[in-house]
Amino acid sequence: MNLHPATTEQLIERYHKPLYWHIRRMVVRHADAQDVLQETFIQIFEHADELRDRKQERAWVYRIATNEALQWLRSKHKFVSLDADDADTSTLIKTLTADPYTDTGDALVLLFQKAVLALPTMQRTVFNLRYYDDMPYDEIAAVTGSSAGAARTNYHIAKEAISNYILAHQ
């Protein structure tokens, strides 16, 4: 850890909310998101000297958060991989409705989130980064370790899949 304490506090100030929401959308349960967020920041503090380019800061912290969330999901469900197309997403959908910090009042919002959770892991990650965090495709590529073209394709496939899911379940 070579960062000045003031710099780490700036990182916390800047990213702790967006990273929490990114992690929450991946792991679903509030208590789990809280744990993964803590673990993410520990990784950020410990590997801060590996961040060479400040312009890549956001992609770097999101990459750590994504990896931590995937590692957590893998330890719990043993199926999650950014390369896997056959992720068993029904567990995540069940978790969504079971978590006390899920608002089930708006049926359409809930259905939309179920449609997002039904996506394969890579598509879901790309969709969340683009749709909720407005991240450009080249930055998404840096987070997921793919190309900007692949990120664009994944986003459009995900959008179509969500649309189909909602129309089929409405």
């Binding site: 506090e9 702790h16 909310k17 809280q34 503090f45 749709y131 129309l167």
Partner: protein, 122 residues
């Protein structure tokens, strides 16, 4: 031609069903700041601590090394010798019967037969 139906994403926008307990972000930020300060403090203490005085391992004296090699060679030869004798079969002596048939006797059998012949009253 039937037009493909597409869901209007603006109906949901960026709303999600997720919510957090009250003052969660404030508590979480404070906890992270405490953790980062503790880590930073621990690291600066480690950096200022004197380096450990562990002496490098001394090389072995020459006679210890040679004795070790000799012992190794001795053990190797002993094992090879034991293995050789364990596998070695007793020599076979060709003995012909009065009918001209060939009997194969091992040394032990031959020695036994010899004793037996000695004891016989010719």
């Amino acid at each position: 031609m039937k037009q493909k139906q597409i869901f209007d994403f603006s109906r949901v926008g960026k709303r999600t069903p997720y919510h957090v307990p009250e003052s969660f972000f404030d508590k979480s930020r404070k906890k992270l700041v405490r953790k980062s300060r503790a880590l930073s403090k621990a690291q600066s203490q480690t950096a200022s601590a004197p380096q450990s005085q562990t002496a490098p391992a001394r090389p072995l004296r020459p006679w210890v090394r040679y004795a070790g090699i000799a012992a190794g060679v001795l053990v190797l030869f002993s094992v090879a010798g034991l293995w050789h004798f364990a596998r070695h079969e007793s020599p076979v002596e060709a003995v012909y019967t009065s009918e001209g048939d060939l009997y194969d006797y091992s040394w032990e059998e031959f020695a036994e037969a010899d004793i037996f012949l000695d004891e016989m009253d010719w």
